[in-house]
Symmetry: none
Subunit: 366 residues, 3 copies
Amino acid sequence: RASPQLRPTATAPRLPSSGQLFAGPAKAAGAGKPGRAVAGARIMRPDDANIAGNVHGGTILKMIEEAGAIISTRHCNSQAGEPCVAALARVERTDFLSPVCIGEVANVSAEITYTSRHSVEVQVNVMSENILTGAKKVTNKATLWYVPLSLKNVNKVLEVPPIQYARKEQEDEGKKRYEEQKLDRLETKQRNGDVIFPVINPEPHTVGYSQSSLIHLVGPSDCTLLGFVHGGVTMKLMDEVAGIVAARHCKTNIVTASVDAINFHEKIKKGSVITISGRMTFTSNKSMEIEVFVDADPFVDEPRERYRAVSAFFTYVSLSKEGKPLPVPQLLTETEDEKRRFEEGKGRYLQTKAKRQAQMQQAARQ
Amino acid sequence: RASPQLRPTATAPRLPSSGQLFAGPAKAAGAGKPGRAVAGARIMRPDDANIAGNVHGGTILKMIEEAGAIISTRHCNSQAGEPCVAALARVERTDFLSPVCIGEVANVSAEITYTSRHSVEVQVNVMSENILTGAKKVTNKATLWYVPLSLKNVNKVLEVPPIQYARKEQEDEGKKRYEEQKLDRLETKQRNGDVIFPVINPEPHTVGYSQSSLIHLVGPSDCTLLGFVHGGVTMKLMDEVAGIVAARHCKTNIVTASVDAINFHEKIKKGSVITISGRMTFTSNKSMEIEVFVDADPFVDEPRERYRAVSAFFTYVSLSKEGKPLPVPQLLTETEDEKRRFEEGKGRYLQTKAKRQAQMQQAARQ
Amino acid sequence: RASPQLRPTATAPRLPSSGQLFAGPAKAAGAGKPGRAVAGARIMRPDDANIAGNVHGGTILKMIEEAGAIISTRHCNSQAGEPCVAALARVERTDFLSPVCIGEVANVSAEITYTSRHSVEVQVNVMSENILTGAKKVTNKATLWYVPLSLKNVNKVLEVPPIQYARKEQEDEGKKRYEEQKLDRLETKQRNGDVIFPVINPEPHTVGYSQSSLIHLVGPSDCTLLGFVHGGVTMKLMDEVAGIVAARHCKTNIVTASVDAINFHEKIKKGSVITISGRMTFTSNKSMEIEVFVDADPFVDEPRERYRAVSAFFTYVSLSKEGKPLPVPQLLTETEDEKRRFEEGKGRYLQTKAKRQAQMQQAARQ
């Protein structure tokens, strides 16, 4: 029996059949609206995956973000005016519905689904395809928000050309999503003071036992034309750290099951050193929640101090050789803070579970 | 029995022994003409190959082009004058004579074989070497044409310093090759209007069933000092798409057998988004021909429209586990255009076959 | 005034002229000993360099090690017998004689200079070439030791086929180098207990202020055919961490000036997580010494505990925009251990300086 995070039916109500999934953006492209759809396919390579052959969630997130960046930058430059680059502002919570393997083709399609005055909502779908058997599976369905920044003045947010909606309700629903995410962004001020301290000789399954951190020097290929890190690059590194935390905790093959909404409050400049730290916050019977922080040191040419650029929660599951979810060791909490974070994680877990059940009931009624 | 595309003997008349192959550039270097030869060796890694362990044709093409770019840029700057970067203008038809595997070393050697006033012909040979057994095989023998562009003004083509020929016939033969390729370049205006439209619920083995596309955001490491995409990077992406088309069609392990002459009419600038699309045009009993288009969107800072930068035909074969060519399913053509393209592909196939037979007969007579 | 580490004249006595440098391996290949020489050329890309355009020392070290691995694996398999893969055992101290820039070509040539019963000494030279101006500079001259491990049984060290020496002294000198390095390897048991602890709110220019660490999940492309990490991959990551430590300390453009001898006592297996940690140990007026540790966690399939795989000292200098060495802030030592390590670093610094002066005097006498 599959874990909730990996059950494809769980999000069925929102997903068209896989045929439509790809036909959707393709049709749009054929219909002479090239700015609103983009599609691409890439073979998954050994370096994209862990040793069990499962493609890293971070590889998928990076592909999603690249497609989103292309379509939204293209759209925002589609009218005469100041040239701009679309910067990732937010990714909505996304589930990894089924694992992708080395040698499979990941088909990514992106479509603009809403525009506000200063932001673009992009829907990106990923479908894995075993090109030997022809089998296709929906892997991912993500929603991203981008903001157009002037190429000449990176601090200037430009106006977004409006899109046409087929039906009035589409616009209304988009506006509702826009308002919701705006509220969440305002609320979610980063957990700034929170730092991960190492623990000497930690006991197995404690928080200190699995916590990990990574530093990365931001190179040219990590960056957009504006010289700031692609959101997808950041997410890939975050997933890398989260995966190491999960593997250290349960010492089995682990895969990304979902990522909570991520807000990108602060840009990260080329040449910065970023520290990505992860610690486990919660375990259910078959899942682990890992909190990840990204801190940037804008060294060399800037006087600015280290700052928290992004933070997020990743959920991982442990898989058997047959791809079935395994039980995970319970996280041992020691300090008051760890206990509090465990309870908060439990709250998020139960809330997600409830939402999913509500969606399924709604789907069953339809 | 090996397929015609993979039969090493087929091009034997034009190939020196493998000893000479490598001694050639080495001797040249020793003989005090360091500008005319370049050599490189690289271990093939898992990411360079498909899941069967065969190195992608695109990986080889990229290595070939890098060697060509080094030697021609070096040569064009060997006399005092305006500094320049050699840009790839054309690659002659090239056969992949034997597959290369992970762990083998690819030895690349390049030599300048002809110079016209404004262009350089480079011959690049690739030899795969199993460093455990010592076995060596000629993998590839490619001819590339480069044009020196001024570093200060990218639209200015500079003059090429002439090379010395050992024998007068070498110059005459080079001149003949130069004239031939020039004619072909003028004729081959890109199939510009041709676009690939998606098909909904396509039948197996139709054109629509296997056609594929990939998008790529051009990053700094994809580009030369002039800020334009390396020809080798483009060819690697083209081979990736062609490989997906071939695998979708026959659902077996496939490898690149040959690439038709490719003309690089239009440069692609850093920051562009390129769409690489492939569709099958023809199948023989044991080979598939795939047409690949590269379209560039020079977004953000340029007012220019999407344009066709390159197009080419790749031939793939399907291999059994023992490395023997397998029969491929016949391509089902539906529209008039598809039938026409199939016939054109058949023409190219028969012409190549006839040329190869003529070469073999000539070799037998010698 | 140039720093000692960057002055090309410093090692002049041991270096042939740049013409000979490259003619060497080329001649050997031409002379029918293709197994003893290998050469390669690669264009340096933005991703290989820091934001000032200087290629990372780690990029160079990785290229050097790849050339060494190819030539020694080839040699060790040159006689009938058990197939094997040459594993890096040691890199001798190496100086980075001049910085390499983006767009330049790095020419790497490798030659086997000595063989003992179970090990191979490889000399690798790197020459940077500005292909626009034709200017060439010797960048690096490294000596590496490899040991052949059986492909069937990784714990079995095989015998090395002996090489022929042109002169008897070459063999004697090689044997002397072999004995010296063997002694050093036995002495340098890893500084195993030594771990880097983070410091909260450290003062600028203290050890805690700049210390850094990085984790890396070992992927397939990081590994040899035996499934163990290439020594070059490890060195590249070590240089990355050392560079971040140096940059955090002096907040200017920094480049690798030299690397002390590195012994690779323990192999690292595919799928491991490695932690690379660096801390500053010593500063002179114009150089910084950074100690780097590599620890491996063989998680998932092995019961083994974390172990110290490698450790080394890197020396960095800070460069002005004109490429001149700048003064660096003095390291503030706080604990007894830090003071002791500072004195030890000073000892290494003075010893290296004395050796270099002795070499120069010897050269002047010749």
